[in-house]
């Protein structure tokens, strides 16, 4: 059974002060198996982020279904799930990473990562250790661990974001252009983590601008323009279609 299956999914935005309703995406169909990594490709404004945010319920889905095979709830339609169920899934099963950092003010880098673990009922001592390990892994300078992330560079914020999402070892991780503001070296770091997550069984949906970066990692690619899902050949070179 697929871990995530979008069927006839559509999302419109009604802007009341313009008196207009604009479709963002329509008739999206794709599914992915547990442990797979699917990349979404498309022009800016084609609705890639809309898909991701709808899976995470930051956007309210309009039509179609988003079936997710949850550990806690079994098969659940994320488009219909109760708010409290979605909150539970966000806490324990589904992670979301974007290039923007939106966190509680005056919370240190270390505290932010620890909190991510504590809310999953991780004991305090191990949460501390795991947080440090994650920060170390993403090469955040230990000098910054006890600083507030407000003044961090784009790359540092992103690495913190990824650290916060990945320490939870989510079953499904949504990546919204996680390499957008990174230099080559930092991208390599992100690649390593994605590979490690994949190896540990995490299922991923990602949006990337950097097609080259993505092609090496993804099992399949969804093209927004043609709305087609292309499986990547096992050997890792070329696509079936």
């Amino acid at each position: 059974m697929a871990l995530l299956k979008m069927s006839d999914f559509g999302k419109r935005f009604t802007i009341h002060y313009l008196g207009k309703t604009m479709p963002a995406v329509e008739d999206i169909n794709f599914s992915l198996e547990a442990g797979e990594f699917i990349g979404i490709v498309g022009r800016s404004g084609s609705g890639k982020s809309t898909i991701l945010k709808s899976i995470y319920r930051t956007y309210l889905p309009d039509t179609g279904s988003i079936l997710y095979d949850s550990e806690r709830f079994g098969l659940i339609d994320l488009a219909q799930a109760a708010e409290r169920e979605v909150l539970y899934l966000r806490k324990y099963e589904i992670g979301y990473v974007s290039q923007f950092l939106n966190v509680m003010p005056r919370t240190t880098t270390r505290e932010l990562v620890e909190k991510a673990l504590l809310e999953m009922d991780e004991p305090h001592e191990t949460a501390c250790l795991k947080a440090e390990k994650a920060l170390e892994h993403f090469e955040l300078d230990p000098k910054l661990w006890d600083a507030y992330p407000n003044t961090f560079s784009g790359g540092e914020k992103l690495r913190l974001n990824i650290a916060m999402a990945t320490v939870k070892k989510p079953r499904l991780l949504l990546l919204d252009e996680p390499t957008a503001s990174l230099d080559q070296h930092s991208k390599e770091k992100v690649r390593e983590v994605i590979q490690a997550l994949k190896a540990s069984g995490t299922t991923l949906v990602g949006i990337f601008h950097d097609i080259e970066f993505m092609e090496e990692l993804c099992d399949s690619v969804f093209y927004m323009q043609t709305q087609e899902l292309a499986k990547k050949a096992q050997a890792g070179v070329g696509y079936e279609s």
């Binding site: 009341h16 930051t58 909150l87």
Partner: protein
Amino acid sequence: MFEEALLHVCNLNKQFGSGCSQCSNPSSRMLEKNYCPACGTVYACQDISFDLFPGEILGIVGESGSGKSTMMQCMYFDEEVTSGEAFINDTTLEGENVFALSSQKKRYIRNNKYGMVYQNPVHGLKMNFSSVGNIAEKLIAAGNRHVADMEQTSRELLESVHIPLFRMKEEPQYFSGGMQQRVQIAKALSNNPPVLFLDEVTTGLDLSVQANVLDLIKNIQRESGISMIVVSHDLAVIRMLADRTIVMLNGSIIEEGLTDQILEDPQHAYTQQLVYSLL
């Protein structure tokens, strides 16, 4: 649903005025905002229903006059509801509509199940009692009689809200606004209530003090798992604190959802306007 609500409110109505033939029928009433132009009745809360789950912070946002504070006052029995029901998931109160209980039982709930923090500390504190005395008052109401224990509890609570030990015997009237608010929070928490109501608690405080109070609230919630209802006109406060948010306008709930969804994909015209106004 995979969990049970701690507090279940259905069809809460609160009106000020007796109503007239033009406004007594909810489906056909023609109001100016929440005001009946024919008889002057104000419909402050209309058909408010919601659930509060264990350990969550529920945000309620709306402009001045939207009925959010009236709703809180009804919940805390400061105001009598016109109609409606509320149920607390508690073995001693199983299946009882708490709005219909005797005043004695309501007092029991206020003293043992609820904590309230008002926008204006004057309502929550006795300004000319010492801070420790204020907390002791609530502890006595909850049935405590042991003076040394109460003093110990008061100290710990005031310490946890960062009131310096040497000022504990002082009266809140000599404290700054932020300190008064923190004493009020300590007092509201003193009986270990499962439900805490917070009504515009950071309104009027400057930014750094506001951040202090918000930190404090968030820490209390994380460490003690108390369920909270946070009323604010300030979306930034709601964004920091609440998992789920209810939007009120003219006495009615017009929208509810996950807080980030309300902020990024608001559905109702009024909510959109509110979000676009966010700095």
